[in-house]
Symmetry: C2
Subunit: 213 residues, 2 copies
DNA sequence: ACGTTAAGACCGACCGGACGGTATGGGGCC
DNA sequence: GGCCCCATACCGTCCGGTCGGTCTTAACGT
């Protein structure tokens, strides 16, 4: 049996094709990123998705739910990826470099989500903010563990506390949506590599080669 | 009707001693930082300031004006300070370090303004956003010039483009309000010093001493 | 094969209220 | 009496959310 395969003729949208629920989240994310959470009305979202409010409230309990979903998906994805890297093989330096690059790349590949994340988190109800922050903190701690490992075995300088280092680096990554343009000269991987060099440099580690211009 | 009889002593209203206009901006900034621009109503602001809407719309043309004022004051202040440092004496390394520390300290000393800045800029009308971004860009360019100067004379590594370095550092600073707590263990100066070490390290420069933990 | 029922998917008119902003007026000070 | 400074009352709009209803599809009984 075919699972739901209809194509309404009355839909003026070409964006169709995907299931409505997924489409709603996608367009909502884009609109939130462009106009902000409060600058986007539910009507805007459903118009862009080619449906009506009835459809949206059929799939999501509230506008907040939509926002929460953005966070949840992004965090789950990034945490999973970091986990794989941390638990993988290689020296602390190799793993930290991989993690540093990965967080940049995965952030740039989901730029809209990132922009929404760090601009509209405060619009969620308190309890959900707390939950998100807890997940975020877990991410931070994983990263920190990696840094501390390298400090313990002498690979990294302990000049600056690991906590500060991680805050510093993740802050830089979080704000990346404020200046990076996908159509600019740098690929997401290139940015990841540059950023990871800056992080490792800050920890006293430089690639075997060059140091001077 | 029993109209409130005002306090004697010549002062305009009770509550706080400062003039109403300044008080409005101050409480608005705090509320914006706590609850977001969109999460703060004009009524909230005037209640907190102990006046009514009439007073607010007497001094400010709109709610947007209040937000703009926050940005303008912060940017003007920081630009002035950076200017003094850039044009001052000392090696590029000394001046960059001073600038790196100063931007952290002046940001932490105006934490609420910073939080509002990077969370609610997008709520301003397009033309004002453009203007603010231009001022911000000027700040960025000043900082970049300092980095390039050091790269040119070989003090700093040219491994990573100056533009990326500056985006990286200023992003980290901009997000500082997301984790720093004034009542925590670190003073703003200490954070500035740690951050500047990480920046300089990323540029291949370390204090004469240590590198290993 | 056919009718009946149930449930999911979605529509769209509508509501209560909050919000930014304004019009008007009164009181203190020169 | 004229001029700031500010209070009070009020307005139009917009927005998140609701609710009854319709259409389609699947399941079941006969």
């Amino acid at each position: 049996m075919a699972v739901r395969q209809k194509e309404s003729a009355g839909s003026p949208r070409a964006s169709a094709g995907r299931p409505v629920k997924e489409r709603l989240l996608r367009v909502a994310t884009r609109l939130f990123a462009r106009n902000g959470f409060e600058g986007t009305s539910v009507q805007d979202i459903v118009d862009a998705a080619g449906v009506t409010k009835g459809a949206m409230y059929h799939y999501y309990g509230s506008k907040d739910d939509l926002l929460y979903e953005v966070y949840h998906q992004l965090l789950t994805m990034q945490t999973t990826r970091l986990n794989d890297i941390v638990k993988g093989s290689g020296t602390p330096e190799e793993r930290l470099r991989a993690a540093a690059i990965d967080v940049v790349v995965s952030s740039l590949d989901n730029l809209d989500d990132m922009i929404v994340f760090f601009r509209s988190l405060h619009m969620l109800p308190e309890d959900r903010q707390t939950q998100i922050r807890a997940e975020r903190r877990a991410y931070h701690d994983q990263f920190k563990a990696l840094v501390e490992e390298g400090m313990a075995d002498g690979t990294f300088s302990s000049e600056v506390p690991a906590d500060v280092v991680v805050h510093y680096y993740l802050s830089a990554v979080n704000q990346i949506g404020a200046w990076y343009r996908p159509d600019g000269p740098l690929t997401s991987l290139q940015v990841g590599e540059e950023y990871s060099k800056l992080l490792l440099g800050g920890l006293g580690v430089w690639p075997s080669a060059v140091t001077g211009g």
